[in-house]
Subunit: 214 residues, 2 copies
């Protein structure tokens, strides 16, 4: 029981800081997206392709969350975009305080869209508001069409769902209609994009949506 | 800082209960495997195929851990194996106390191998000893060959690594040699099985190993 109490206090503190961040993002006109998924959904590859496609149109920046390494931040840095790495040292999610610290290293005035790539985890990060405008859950077709039902909180809090690795659909028993029905049962307002970050399929609609945000 | 202290106390309590469970499993001659992976690695399918293949040779039982639903326990129950569902209500991992409670519903004396399917999460469950003899991390080829480096704790604590969905290798940029090098860099003693729970490929070696355990 004492653990639950502490957890609640941690979340209250987190939400307070997240609200301050949200105000700051609004004041400085930065649209922030929190990217959430299991490990291996293709989150970083999707982000890399997105940064390429937005290049020249929109000023982007990235905060990378990882439990241990800066491999992903190195991948992102190749795209000549400002990137700050947060290493959680085993922590299973980003929180608003970590994001606040990372912001000290970014010139927010020069940024239109800030992507926060969360730790690969479909459970814990769902509970932590980072002050973002949109939570984007990325699911790969290889994970199975039952994932919304099995990890409902993530789908409940998300605004957008990117279904990635659609290039593999022919080789999988993945029912795309059932997946979306499952997800809409949890969250009727979820907005979908079907993509293959590998082949580029569907990325135009996703980046069109991003461009219309600002 | 206070959170870290509480976390430490939680882990200490967990480890005490895990040691009691380990003694109990040894006394009652039950071999326990803790199955760990990301969501969508094919853990439940692998378990279903394993139960089928062991049927008639070995008396098995399953403890299913899920954040919300009993979908997986229903799948397991079809194989006429004793199964207990633990629903964590959003909790991101199983702990030893939950397993102790679940054991009250199993006749351990009749069981030779107990599989504990943990919550789909490559981060948090790595910290919680459940009294098991072996931690088995299941990774699907679709998750990418960098996963051991990005989630090192899980690979450090695991004894066995099942690389699943090898039927998809032709369609992926997954380097199986690099994956194993990455994993062995973290844990030189890791023992590997390459499987496709879907096609059945490689399951013979995995079940041979299981049969030799008892």
């Amino acid at each position: 029981m004492s653990v639950i109490t502490v957890e609640r206090k941690v979340l209250e503190k987190n939400d307070q800081v997240a609200e301050m961040l949200r105000d700051q993002f609004t004041r400085q006109n930065v649209t922030v997206l929190n990217l959430l998924s299991s490990p291996g959904s293709g989150k970083t590859t999707l982000l890399e392709r997105t940064l390429e496609l937005l290049r020249g149109h929109i000023a982007t920046a990235v905060i990378e969350g990882d439990v241990q390494t800066d491999i992903d931040a190195q991948r992102i840095a190749r795209h000549h975009v400002p990137v700050v790495q947060i290493i959680t040292n085993g922590g299973c999610h980003l929180d608003a305080m970590l994001v606040r610290d990372a912001l000290a290293k970014l010139a927010l005035d020069d940024i239109q869209i800030l992507f926060i790539e969360n730790v690969g985890n479909l459970v814990c990060p769902a509970s932590y508001d980072l002050g973002e405008k949109f939570k984007v859950v990325i699911v790969s077709t290889t994970e199975g069409d039952d994932k919304p039902v099995k990890y409902p909180k993530m789908f409940r809090v998300a605004n957008v769902c990117v279904l990635n690795k659609i290039d593999l659909l022919d080789y999988l028993d993945f029912d795309i209609v059932r997946f979306k029905e499952n997800a809409r049962m949890i969250n009727p307002n979820l907005h979908f994009f079907d993509t293959s970050a590998k082949t580029g399929d569907g990325l135009d609609k996703w980046t069109d949506w991003l461009e219309h945000l600002i």
